[in-house]
Amino acid sequence: MMLLLMAVTIMVLGGLAALGVGQPRLAGRLGAGGVVVGSLMGLVPALRVLWSGSGESLSYAWSVPYGSFAVGIDPLSAFFLLPVLGISALAAVYGTEYLIPYCGKYSVRGHWFFYSLLVASMTMVLVARNAVLFLVAWELMSVASFFLVTFEHHKESVRDAGWTYLVATHVGAAFLLAFFVLLGNEVGSFDFDRIRAFGVPTSAGVLFLLAVVGFGAKAGFLPLHVWLPEAHPAAPSHVSALMSGVMIKTGIYGILRTLTFLGPPSPWWGYVLVGVGLTSGIIGVLFALAQHDLKRLLAYHSVENIGIIALGLGVGVIGAGIGSPALIVLGLCGGLLHVLNHAIFKSLLFLGAGSVFHGTGTRDIDFLGGLLKRMPWTGVTFLIGAAAICGLPPLNGFVSEFLIYLGAFRGGAVNDAAVVGTLSAVIAGLALIGGLAAACFAKAFGIIFLGEPRTDLSRTHEGGWAMRLPMVVLAAGCVLLGLLAPLALRLMAPVVAQLAPLARNVVRTELMAAAQPLAMVARGGCGLLAMIGALALLRRRLLARRTIGEGVTWDCGYAQPSPRMQYTASSFAQPLTDFFRIFLWTERRISRPSGLFPRSAALHTFTPDTYPRCCTLPCFAASYGAFRDCAGYSTAACNCTCSISPWPSWR
């Protein structure tokens, strides 16, 4: 435990040092160095706890009212610490090179300070064992990430995105405050240990809903996801990778931690989670399909994957409701493993997107093309990440979705129509999400990296080793976790044992049962790779000493096809977005060709998020109306607060 606190201290010291030095590049090395060293140190106690299964904790008195400086690592914290620390370190290495073009223009030193602060505060969120400490760390995390999002604060769009994020995250925080006040009031203490020992609170259902809303705003559940598609594109890419891959998972952590407070879950909690998961998953991937901005597309995929995680947790909670150990273990394992998997492939994809932006200067998919030849490293790693996020075997995304599917299939045998109906909806939903995600990533990878460049991309260049190395490591992680999934289950045993209302040996038996098909899947993956190798060899043997011709792509006999004749991302996705237009409301602007010799024609499509317009803004307008009378009193204070610019002037 001491080691982890030292790690946090090192991170913060690294950030402070970065703030202090004059040279932006040196600041990057100091800040990133602090994060890397701190993360490596922090991983040691996390792995130790997961391996041994027993937690560590520390508690000091704290002068804050109701607070105590109680920290601890139990298996649940340790499991979430793995992606937080691992991804933070890799993204920090990437950031040192990614930010070089920004040196002098924006405050790189401030960036590294807040980066370290974000990593440190995420770590503290995971280890805090007192509600006040938890909320302080939570708030610090939100504020630090706000400053990271608004890194390019000269741009108005970036500032808007930052405000959207700040408001959304604080709406969530308000619910969390209510949650902890209610809970602490009943228990009489804000210490997590006392809350756990208290037993079942009377208003467990209300508390659960408060937690789903409060933590869901951070996780990105629909319709609280409004900040994700704004903030992720605005932030520098390694920050998007960190926020999307890891920070939103603190919301999932919060929900899981809540489940440990509230005693045995009611069955309807499971239905709520499945409902939230299905809507987030399906609507998220549909919105992703309609996007042209690569990072916006990836942001919507985070909504989708958070939905898949919620589906897994929902299956587990339903299992607890009907008393089926298999369902509990499969659902929880699937959801938790997807947390880890999504952290890996989503940060890989965001780093890839950053690399594309770094190399070409645009994130608009329709302007790109043929990048695989110019950026082979980014291309291959992005392809691996894309296949993994679609849940294709033999990569890691398949493994976690497989567990959730298996749980849903297992539960299909019970004699309860509501349960079977819900679980069948999980199966159909996962299948639809999988199909649509494959469509979306076929579009993203196919249009960006394959074909011919749609605009002049001759000056495109691959990033240096500091940008390539993290992507390669993450891509290797996707492959390895896919093939070594049964071993990953071994690490998850204590986490599931902590969460599930089951005896330890029952958990172990169920995990063994779940590991068996996973071992077969892993063997199947190896067999698949072997067969690919054999067929590739066969093809090479067949083609040896034969004539291999080269030509242009077949275009119905036209010998000079131009890159502009290619399908674009918009045209690729158009049939699907049209089919699902009831959810999407895509806006189009058409200037039709006219006259006998038409000069030009254009079609612009844009799919804005409908939820701010339909849900969030009316809510705000209503609450503004309700609070308008009070507003007169606080205007002066408000003006005073707003006049202090949140963007520091140091550079």
Binding site: I532, L542, D555, Q566
Partner: protein, 303 residues
């Protein structure tokens, strides 16, 4: 891995191209023609494997890996599908999910290989392929979920093995709905009429054929063989549901299933002879219809 199961895998590898011949002979019969020999697809594959190849200058290694990895994926999927009572070489709880996703992997790679050519025709085909398959996937998996519930098994081999005549008498209507859904999925996944016309001559109207326009030589041979194999595995799945002959005698069971698979090929040929391809905008309705059949089967299974 078991020896009886390996037999069903090798039979699939050996006999899959025959299905294309049967379909074409059926269509020829309806058109009053003599038709190509039944083994024409074997000749085609063999000839293609003997040839050189031409590649577009636009393409990369992704284009080449499409057919190779696609064939590997469908070979792996074939190892999970039983021939009626004769189990598959590999079977475990949840193998049906792996089966569905291996077919998904094959499709993903084919689509990427198509996009790699930079041709708008192939982009068009790829776009339609992902559109239709995204709608076919829920129908397939929901159908398998119903099957899992009816047979109390989670592996394809176990499910099909448990599907005896007794199950048919108990819940025949459910299985019938399921069979219809599976047949529609089979037609869509294998690019047959009414979803896609393999004989069309216009690139604009094709789906699967247009995605593989630029492949040639051994690559195209792999694609042709992979497509035949995909038709075989989905037919074997359908026949496993529809033909409940489980006497325990492997010869008898195997013969019944093989006859059933041939009959599915004839049925596909009859469908192709009797109706035209649907308009593209109608196809999703058909696929959602398949999903509705699966859902209906599920509701009936819940009673």
């Amino acid at each position: 891995m078991n020896t009886a199961g390996s037999v069903s895998w090798f039979l699939a590898l050996l006999l899959a191209p025959l299905l294309l011949g049967i379909i074409n002979r059926t269509k020829a019969f309806f058109a009053g023609r003599q038709g190509a020999p039944l083994v024409q697809a074997y000749f085609d594959c063999w000839k293609l494997l003997q040839k050189g190849a031409v590649y577009s200058r636009t393409t990369t290694w992704v284009f080449v890996s499409g057919p190779v990895a696609g064939l590997a994926a469908v070979l792996a999927a074939a190892a999970l599908v039983p021939l009626g009572g004769i189990g598959a070489p590999v079977s475990f709880a949840g193998d049906l999910i792996l089966f569905a996703y291996l077919l998904g992997l094959m499709r993903f790679l084919t689509v990427l290989a198509a996009l790699d050519t930079g041709s708008s025709f192939e982009g068009m085909g790829a776009s339609r392929e992902v559109w239709f398959s995204a709608l076919a996937e829920p129908a397939l998996l929901l159908g398998l979920a119903v099957l899992a519930r009816e047979t109390k098994s989670l592996s394809l081999s176990g499910m099909i093995f448990a599907l005896t005549g007794e199950v048919w008498t108990r819940s025949g209507i459910i299985l019938l709905l399921l069979a219809v859904a599976l047949f529609i999925v089979l037609l869509a996944e294998n690019a047959r009429i009414p979803v896609d016309d393999p004989n069309t001559h216009l690139e604009l109207t094709m789906i699967h054929e247009v995605m593989v326009l630029d492949h040639s030589g051994p690559d195209f041979g792999f694609i042709l063989y992979g497509a035949a194999l995909k038709l075989w595995v989905l037919s074997a799945l359908l026949v496993g549901v529809v033909v409940p002959v489980r006497t325990g005698n492997p010869w008898l069971d195997g013969a019944a299933v093989l006859a059933g698979i041939m009959a599915v090929a004839v049925l596909v040929g009859i469908v192709e002879s009797c109706m035209a391809r649907l308009r593209l905008f109608r196809v999703p309705q058909l696929l959602v219809g398949a999903g509705a059949f699966s859902t209906l089967a599920l509701i009936l299974a819940l009673r």
